[in-house]
Structures are given as C-alpha cells and as structure tokens.
Symmetry: C2
Subunit: 453 residues, 2 copies
C-alpha cells in the first residue's frame, strides 16, 4: 500500500496535467509517487514525449530509480529520447554500477561504449566496465561495486565519517565490510553495532571476523542459496585473491529467484521464452510453437509406432481403447519424477553422485504406485466384464510404463546436469513425448505376447 | 562459503568429539559454525542425545537460532528431549515472536499452551499469542512483533538509546518506524540516517512520512509482491486502526516466495504434497498417487469414449494411429495456456476482469499455432502419401483441439480464481486429463463427419 492509489481516474488526471504542462500540480504528485509506481505508469500509459517531460521534472536520483524499474523494451524506447551525452550525465552517472552494467549489456555495443566514455567520474565508469566482463549468472555479474569498506584500525568515529562520505547516495546500507591493508576481506560489522558503539572504539574491537562470502565466479544459484540460508541482507563478493570487490544485496536475489522460478515453471509448461499473458499474440505464439512442434513430431512418431502394429490392432481393436491410458500415465509419472529431480538439483539437495541410490528409490516409488494403479485397473476390468486378456495386457503394460517413466524421468535430468545442461529442459513436453513413444511401443509388445498366447 | 567446510571427515571427527564429551575442542568449533550449519548437522547426523548435548554447549541466542532452522520433523523430535518448562526458559523466551508462533502452531495444542504460560516475560508471551490468531497466509501470520518504534518528538540521542534498549538482542535492524501518540504509523527513518544525524536533531526533522505498509489481513502474496517491488528490507504492518503492530522482513519473504514457487511447480507436476527427493518412499508415493489415480480415471474415461466409436475404428483402424498426436497436442496447449494464466494471476498482472479480452487473445494464439501445426501435418501426409481423408480428419481435429484446449486452459484458472480456489490446481494432470477426453471425442466426431462422407 503506497501513498497514492493508482486508479484509472488518477491516470486520466495525471495525463491531463502532463498535457497542460502543469508543473505546479505535477510536482507534489511526483514527490509522493514511488519510482516503481512512476515506472509502471511509464510502462503502461505514457508515450515517449510525455515520459521525457515527466522525467525532466524528477530530481536526479529519482529519475534514475524510475528508469531502472522500466520494462526492458520501454527502457530502450525511452532512451531514444536522449543523446548519448544526456544518457551519461542524466542517468548513468547516478546509477549503481550493477544496474548500469545490466542496462549497458542490453544496449547496442556502440552506444554502450559512448555512454561509458562520457561518464565524468572515471572511477564510476571503470567500476561499471569491470562488471561487464563477468559471465552471465555469476556472482560477478550480479554484484554491485558500491558498498561500505572500513579498515581494522579505524575508530568508530572514522567509520561514521566514511559512511557519510561513501553512503550519502547509497541506499540499502546495513553492513560495513572490514578489509586489511591488502584490501582482503577479513570481517564485517553491522550498522547497528557502529551506531551503538562509543566513537573512540576501533573496528578491531567490535567487528566479527566470521564473514560469509562468495567468489566472483560463484553461480547465481549458489549466491541466492547462501544469502537465503544465512538470512543475509547482503553478501560480500571477493576475487581470486580474496580481495573485496563487491556485494550482492537481497533485492537482487529476490529478483533472481523469481526469474529462475518462472523459467523453470515455463520450461515445465512448454513455453520457451520469458513471456507474460500481457505480451503480444505474436510473442506468445512464438514462445509456444517450438514445444508444439516437438509434440507434433512425437505424435507422428507415435503414429509410426502404432502403424507397425496395425495388423495386431485390426485383430484386437479393443487395444486402441487403452492407448490413451498408457500414454497419460507414462506422461504423468515422467513429469513427476523429472520435476522432483529438477527441484532437488536446483536446491542443491541432490548431488550427481549417489545416482544409483536415487534410481533405486524412484523405482521403488514407481513399483508401489504402479502396483496400486494396475490392481485398480484389474478390479475395474473384473467388475465391468472387459476382456480379461486385454485388461491383463493393459495392467502389465501400465506397471511397466510407470517403472520405465520413473527411470527415464530420473535419469535424464541427472544426465543433463552432469553435462552442464539445464536439467529443467527434461521436464514438460520433452519427457512426455519420449514417454509416449516408449509407452506405446511397450504396450503393443506386451499385447503381442499376451494376446498371441 | 562459511568459515568451516562441512565435509564427511569433519562430521566424523565432530561426532567423535561429542561422544568423548570433549568440550574444550567442541566449543571453538561451535563458535565458528553458523546456526544454519549446526541445524543441518542436527537434521542429518545426530541422534537426540547428541543433539541435546551439543545444544547445551551453545549460548542462549545461538541455541534458539539453531532450533529455528531445524527441519519440522527434526524440531519436534528434538523438543522431546526437554520438559515444557525447559522449552519455555531455554528456547521460547529467546525466540522472535513470529518464529515462536510458527513453531507453536505445529505443536500439540496442550503443549503450546503450557509453553506459552511458562514464559516469564508476559509481554513476550502476549506478543506470541496475538500472532497465533491470524489466519495462515496473511501479513498478520507472517509478521514479527519485534521492531524499532520511535516517536516524532524524540531526539536522535533518544532514538539511539531506545535502539540500544530494544535492539540489543534483535537482528536485522535496518529501519526505525515512526509512530504518533496513538501508536499510528506515520513514517520511517533508516538506521543510516540516524547514524549520520546530529544527536540533538529530532525524528520529525529527519524522518520520511511516505511509508509503504500493509494491513494484518493482506495476503502473503501481496506482502511479498510489495516488499519485492519497492526493494524493502522490511515492511511495516498496521492493524485496522492504522496502529503499527509488526513488520515482515525480507528473509521471511524469501522463504515464502520459494515455498510458493515450489508449491506451484509441484502442482503443475502432479505432486500434491510438499516433498523432496530425500523424503521416504512412502511419502513420495503418497504425494503422487492421487494424481495418478486421476490420470487412471481419465484413461478409463478415454477408453469409454473410444469404445463408443469402436465400429468406426474397426472400419478405419488408421484413425487409431493419430490418437496419441491429438491427445499430446491438446495436453501441451492446455498446460501452456493454464500455466501462463496461473503465473499471471500469481504476479497480479491479470485481474479476473477483462476475461473476454484474455480469452480472445488466447484463441488468437491458438488459431495461429493450430494453423501452423495443421499445415505441417498436412504437408507430412502429402509427402509420405498417407490416406488423404485420414490426414484431413487429423488436421481439422488438431486445429479444433488446439483452440478448445487454449479456451479450457484459460477459462478454468480464471474460474477457480474467481471462486477463491488456488488456480494452480488447474494445471498439470487435471487439465491434461480433461483435454484428453475432449480431444478424443472431437477427433472421432470429426472423423465420422469426414470419413462418413
């Protein structure tokens, strides 16, 4: 709940004020609005000219905070309202290094270079440039260079002065990191502790030398897991020589976690790009089509498998009745097994070792569930008087496909993970399609054996 | 990366030291270990007697921090090592109110009452009791009562004193909330600002009256979304009279978001309880069986649908060849549409209104993808010389089922949401099964029409 509720009426009035260039009334409204809310209005309601005008009314820091929050495509469009010089002086000079690096990564390389070159504060532009070199999804790419660094022999008074100097423009300051003369990370001290300590005490007397940290090359998943496990508001990042080079804050991890969860969810749903229901029809179609084509190819494959047994099918048309059951169950079990593996791998609760034990367990689960389902099916057949041989075929095939689907669903994510491919690929349409083929093949083989007797 | 790496060898030595009751060597190790790491060792490696002994070596606050981090079942087992009095004095007296309420909610009601009654600090026990009354998944149930409250007319000096008094045992102190004489929330001031202000200034001079907050009855989703959107490290919670009653911190939201993402993911995968791959075979089976039985019933339903067309099938056995294709495509499209709705509803990017527009869009996406897939299929048929009438049947049915699956996949989550049922129920096996039935029915109806011509 923020101070101004953004209703349709509010938006209409707001746009009217913009069209009238009514600064006197706009200024107090803009002051009350949070950057995130202004960004949403930019995203959904304003054209470029209106957005540039509103931005011109905002003070430097708020202007930057708004821009950071814009949707990526809106951000690119908004930047077209400015020259490279203006982008440097109005936006990138005031931006936290990690935000700046994120945005520059998505701009044309030429424009990025121009902007970087035109930032007056050379240390700031060097900081941003140094972040650009880290591979995606590493701590180095997630971290910001801005933070409070203090030295062991400093007094609390000097820390406060330093925080005043370093932190005036820095939000989310909760912790100061302690370094030695070689800039190596040796500990941390909370802002609370500094606030409560006498001014004459030294950092050495009040700091904690037990400091959780990660390296620049640590993966994003691990950074998120560490910050979450230890309930840290920020995680210091060191380079290969243990020198403090940056920090990742909780808000970056919140964003990262949501992105990752959405990616996995979409993968499981058979949607290949990051889309939202508000995206265009074209984008939505394109994100789904690849998976549908995989399904189509799988379906054609299935028709070839069944075609190979056309003669058997002609003699026992009833076999066709239970094809859907076999397929559906194989698909369901495969998705269950694979998604539990994918989650386990994502949470680091499974290692690639101990595969045999995992497999054994999944097979046991499959056996248990398969037996229950097969017995239920036999009971159904007995009660409703279906052909006994057909029902025996279906039950045996059901048990077999449940076991095999559990096996495939467990193995494929583990294999992908071992080969450093995102195991989430193995969930959704991919696993369903391969289990359909396997299941139908098995079904007819078993049918052949039982019905041919 | 924490100070001590927990390897197999470390665990072996550690347990040996416990068995020898070697306090002299254990103490420095325990001091270096984080509560989260000790909790993991309790979870996986120690028996009750060993755990109680190790706990007896920890100082009060760390003992509590370890217990909070234990797995729920381990926590319950661990508590059996203590009497109700000991639980009160050793653990619950030092526990943050929200952690205490969470744990008490999962203990037998009798034991909970005894523990609450035996807490010496009556204000603390009242705080905990007041949290127990909030419905699950509301801000009230997520919040903690502990926080820093300051008044408008206080000086910075008085704030510091108050923080010293209130916050000595309180971790995660980053912000002080400002209240008026009626205890109503009127603003906030960051610890950084207090640290940097002169001691003689008043809160009124340095505070920010623009304070984002939520009500006790706000849903957990909204709390998480607000904290995330505004990058807040903690979100103050007010009651119906705007009185400040608690705060939700970022670490609670991190846990909440991960739980929700896992729940949705498991729902989509057809797993009904929160299980991990490390759980027992029995638990894993039980979590999956309900969905498999739904699949089984769906499969039997499919067999009845197909059975109704047995004569047609006998005359055109080739129709059976493409049943899997129709089913797989209906299933894939249904899951795609439903999961995009479920994500949209979870992120609040869709409202239940504007349903017609959403439907129109999904149908357009379906039409586009359906046309592409049907044309691909016709081309395949033409190239490989399949029966033209069969391929026409399959293509028309494919287009129809893609459209209908998109419709069903969009409508059901919206309907469930409107009736306050978790829309995630509509993803996974549920939607696949109903689309299988619909798809097969349509397929044979269309086959009848085209082949009967």
């Amino acid at each position: 709940m923020s101070a101004i509720e953004i209703t349709k009426e509010f938006i209409e009035e707001f746009i009217q004020l913009i069209e009238q260039r009514n600064e006197a009334e706009l200024n107090p409204i803009l002051e009350k609005l949070y950057p995130q809310d202004i960004a949403e209005i930019f995203d959904d309601e304003l054209n470029l000219e209106q957005a540039v005008y509103v931005a011109s009314l905002l003070e430097s820091q708020k202007k930057v905070d708004v821009v950071i929050e814009l949707e990526p495509d809106v951000k690119l469009k908004f930047f077209q309202g400015y020259s490279a010089e203006e982008l440097s002086s109005l936006f990138f000079s005031y931006m936290k290094s990690d935000d700046a690096a994120d945005i520059l990564n998505n701009l044309p390389a030429d424009l990025s270079k121009q902007i970087l070159r035109k930032i007056d504060d050379k240390e700031h532009s060097r900081n941003i440039a140094s972040l650009l070199k880290f591979p995606e999804n590493t701590a180095g790419a997630l971290m910001a260079k801005e933070m409070i660094k203090v030295k062991l022999n400093w007094t609390v008074k000097r820390c406060t002065d330093e925080i005043r100097r370093q932190a005036e423009s820095l939000s989310n300051v909760f912790t100061a990191y302690v370094v030695n003369d070689y800039d190596e990370l040796v500990g941390w001290v909370s802002l609370k502790r500094i606030l409560l300590a006498a001014e004459s005490r030294t950092v050495e007397e009040i700091y904690d030398d037990n400091v959780i940290h990660e390296n620049t090359y640590t993966s994003g998943e691990e950074v998120a897991a560490t910050l979450k496990k230890y309930d840290l508001v920020a995680l210091p990042i060191v380079d290969a020589f243990n020198r403090l080079v940056g920090r990742v804050t909780f808000d970056d991890v919140l964003d990262y976690m949501q992105d990752e969860a959405e990616k996995d969810y979409q993968m499981l749903s058979g949607i290949s790009e990051d889309v939202e229901s508000s995206d265009s029809v074209w984008l939505l179609s394109r994100a789904r089509l690849p998976w549908l084509v995989i399904g189509l190819i799988g379906g054609i494959g299935s028709s070839l498998v069944i075609g190979g047994f056309e003669e058997e099918l002609r003699q026992n048309v009833q076999l066709a009745l239970f094809m859907p059951l076999i397929m559906a169950m194989g698909g369901n079990v495969g998705v269950q097994s694979s998604s539990i593996m994918v989650q386990g791998l994502a949470n680091n609760t499974i290692s690639s070792t101990g595969v045999v034990a995992k497999l054994g367990k999944e097979l046991l689960v499959g056996l248990l569930n398969g037996l229950v389902c097969s017995l239920l099916l036999l009971a159904y057949g007995a009660i409703f008087g279906n052909s006994q041989k057909i029902m025996l075929t279906v039950s045996v095939a059901l048990l077999a496909i449940i076991l095999i689907a559990a096996l495939v669903g467990t193995l494929i994510p583990l294999l992908l993970d071992r080969f450093k491919i995102d195991p989430a690929l193995a969930t959704g349409p991919f696993i369903t399609t391969s289990n359909d083929l396997l299941g139908l093949f098995l079904y007819f083989i078993i049918g052949n054996l039982i019905l041919g007797m």
